[in-house]
Amino acid sequence: MADRVGGDRHPVISRVGVRPAPSTVIAIVLGAGLPLAFVGVFFAWPVGAMVARGLFADGMLDLSGFAEVLARPRTLRLIGLTISQAALASAVCVILGLPIAHVLYRLRFRGQRMLRALVVLPFVLPTVVVGVAFRTLLREGGLLGSLRLDGTFAAIMLALVFFNVAVVVRTVGTTWEGLDQRQEEAARVLGAGPVRVWFTVTLPRLAPAITSAASIVFLFCSTAFGVVLVLGGTRFGTIETEIYLLTTQFLDLRAASVLSVTQLVVVVAVLLVAARARGTRTAQRRVDSARSGRAPRLGDLPNIAVTLVVAAFLALPIVALLLRSLRTADGWGLGNYLALGTTGSRNALVVPVWTALGNSLVIAVQATAIALVIGLAASLVISRRPRSAGLRRSLAGFDGVLMLPLGVSAVTVGFGFLITLNTPPFDLRSSPVLVPIAQALVALPLVVRTILPVLTGIDGRMRESAAVLGSPPWRVLRDVDLAIVGRPVLAASGFAFAVALGEFGATSFLSRPDRPTLPVVIFRLIGLPGGDNFGMAIAASVVLAGVTVAVIALVERLRVGTMGAF
């Protein structure tokens, strides 16, 4: 990669020079080149081509569609619904996430890491399965049927919170864990009550992390697709569900393009807010997180109570799935799990579920490798603080570009692949490499967000002294940057791996029937009649969840604070 480029031994004394050293510029250009090429070819080009199909009529750009589509009452209603849904869900996630972050990251108790791993679980479960599990609980006669939530706005809210509360917990929690507590202690000594300390000392310091987390939750919620479809009972929709409908049912590319652009504008705006919030956060001094925890006290009871209630809420659908997986036609038992070694009842599948799990693992490893190479190159570049303001701004913009795949419809990306990657050297439409590439695209932002904060946390003086002592740039990179980033890279790999394992949206567009992944197989099983196939689908989901939790729990042992934090 970029490490061999700065062949000249000129020390990088950037503090003195006004311009960045030439080697830095070259390293940035090359290090940014790979990620930009990747995101350009596999994201911007396909999405751009799809949008262009809708906006160009007979070779002429026709923007009249915007006025027409955006004036439809249905469009306006959906945009409104999308924004209010996402805003409310973000608020709820923050309100519930803060006490949990406190309990999971400021206190110390046994089982804490397992709890942290469990909180991530919803993030990677197949949405169809979770949707069905939720509806089983909420429908009339279900365990929570008396709440009469089925098909309501509240049901969507529950599901969105279920999937996203982890983002707040992790992002805010890891910041909180690293906060120096002496300021709070000083305030308390000076006579401030706990509430006052919280509002005047702690909250302001957490604010950037909260804003960042809230904006990412907003992003995830405004593009949530499957879960809104299943739980909204078709009465509710988002821009995303509408893009899906317009593209797959009506082939109305013009309207779909208008909505895609609208969605992109919203997403970019939200990302800007997030980036701004993150920018201020890096200024915080972090303390060794290992020493920041303390034993729970009586005053922590309200927070612990909230945590327990939310944990129970998160566990409920998961436990429901677990119980359902143990139920077979002949009563309770492991029948559904034993069936995972077969191709299902009446030949439902091409390969046994275990084989699909094997495929998933192999593909996820490939996806992780891609995401890691690209993400590491990008993070190394973005973490530089060049003197030139213009260069700094472009790096910030580059950071944002890498996050964009989180905010664009999988249908648009999927169809985009088909219409762009069709000529050599990019004739990849039926190539098996497209699946790991698509998954890597989804995992990439998580990798960058895990590695980058650690890199930016490196004191620039370490690099400078190494350089002054005569290390060539590649050695500085190896001995300073890469040495420190080793653990976070491992953690990011684990997280990327877990996300790739569960990815379905893009995979479903590209998967080869002879080499299906586990989520693809689950989707197929859940689409077939017969209780035994359904039981197998649930058992397979439990296996997927189990593998994921195991991976995340392993990664938790690395104690990398930034994993899964935005």
Binding site: R135, T247, T248, N347, L418, R429, S430, P529, G531, F534
Partner: protein, 354 residues
């Protein structure tokens, strides 16, 4: 600027591919097979192991299957990639999307030469797909009924669409939505065929008044709200397939616990065709013939849960016993569906999901 961007992209791509697919490289080793076809299909395509290998044995032509989402996504993919086709043969275009595929010119003129008069009922009208599409399988989307629930409740089972709006069956019926589920759309089309272009809206208003539950997808309706043996739901009537009841029969049972109401069915036929622009038309035609041959046709019910169309195909025993076929299913001409799809779905959404 354009070129430099491409060079850069190529560089990055090479690196990435080198890293990622070393394991797949062996697959692409130059073999001795002279001909290779890509069969583009939907996610539900499934044949038992070795069936496609028989085609390779017979003809020396290798087949690579490429899935492309659900039936709607499949047709749209073909339309979007007209200039650079995804493959040589397509399977899985159904009668609700056939017209779009034909009108967009994504298919070559070829219908299997092995079709006989016995399959006449499955053919599309001349000029609307008859020349391009060969029927491969068909299935009826019908209201399914939970026999056990009705027996226990001591209520007579409904039989017609009109029964569904009678107060006796209030709050007992669940269907997937027409705008997010293909059986849901099929059921809407059944009601349009039954009540006419001006009458179905009124029928749906009555359905809504009678407490129909509308879920987003089939699995939602069938596994959550239906009271059948596969789920814990409390509604004994659900829109599903006529082939669903055999799937509910437990081994050794002599009766299916559920059944299909054969007067409520919409028939979905799935077709295969040669994709326009194929470089291997002769081989592609052979593959279409093969899909229509008894070898594949006998394999279809157990793998795709639909009926074969070839009159010479034989049905598996459980199918012969438990799977019913509607004698007079509702039908809507493919052209009419294509012209009105958007309007119907919009009107439907206004009535059913206010």
């Amino acid at each position: 600027m354009h070129t430099s961007k491409k060079t850069l992209a190529g560089l990055g791509l090479l690196l990435v591919i080198g890293l990622a697919v070393s394991s797949c490289a062996s697959e692409a080793a130059p073999g001795a097979t002279p001909e290779k076809l890509v069969l583009v299909t939907h996610d539900s395509f499934n044949l038992s192991e070795g069936t496609l290998a028989k085609f390779t044995d017979e003809t020396g032509i290798e087949v690579q299957v490429q899935a492309s989402g659900d039936a709607g996504q499949l047709v749209n993919s073909l339309v979007l990639t007209k200039d650079s086709p995804l493959g040589d043969v397509v399977f899985g275009i159904d009668n609700t999307f056939a017209s779009r595929a034909v009108n967009e010119g994504v298919l070559e003129d070829y219908a299997s030469k092995d079709l006989t008069d016995a399959e006449e009922q499955y053919l599309l009208p001349a000029g609307s797909g008859r020349e391009q599409l060969t029927p491969i399988d068909n299935g009826d989307v019908c209201v399914n009924v939970d026999h056990e629930w009705f027996a226990e409740a001591g209520i007579e089972e409904p039989t017609t669409l009109d029964d569904l709006v009678s107060p006796e069956y209030k709050d007992l019926f669940v269907t997937p939505a027409a705008n997010s589920s293909s059986p849901g759309l099929a059921f809407l089309l059944a009601t349009i065929a039954a009540k006419g272009e001006d009458g179905w809206q009124d029928y749906w208003t009555k359905l809504v008044d009678n407490g129909v539950k509308i879920d987003a997808g089939w699995s939602d309706a069938y596994y959550v709200d239906f009271s059948g043996p596969s789920s814990d739901g409390d509604r004994p009537l659900v829109v599903s397939y006529a082939s669903s009841p055999p799937a509910e029969v437990t081994e050794g049972a002599t009766e299916a616990p559920t059944g299909a109401l054969l007067d409520t069915c919409f028939r979905q036929t799935e077709y295969a065709g040669v994709i326009a622009g194929t470089k291997n038309k002769a081989a592609a035609e052979k593959l279409v013939d093969f899909l229509f041959s008894p070898t594949v046709q006998n394999d279809i019910p157990e793998n795709m849960f639909v009926f074969p169309v070839n009159a010479e195909a034989t049905l598996p025993a459980t199918w012969a016993q438990f799977a019913a076929i509607a004698e007079n299913p509702f039908e809507v001409a493919p052209d009419e569906i294509d012209t009105n799809r958007e309007e119907w779905l919009t009107e439907w959404a206004a009535i059913a999901t206010p």
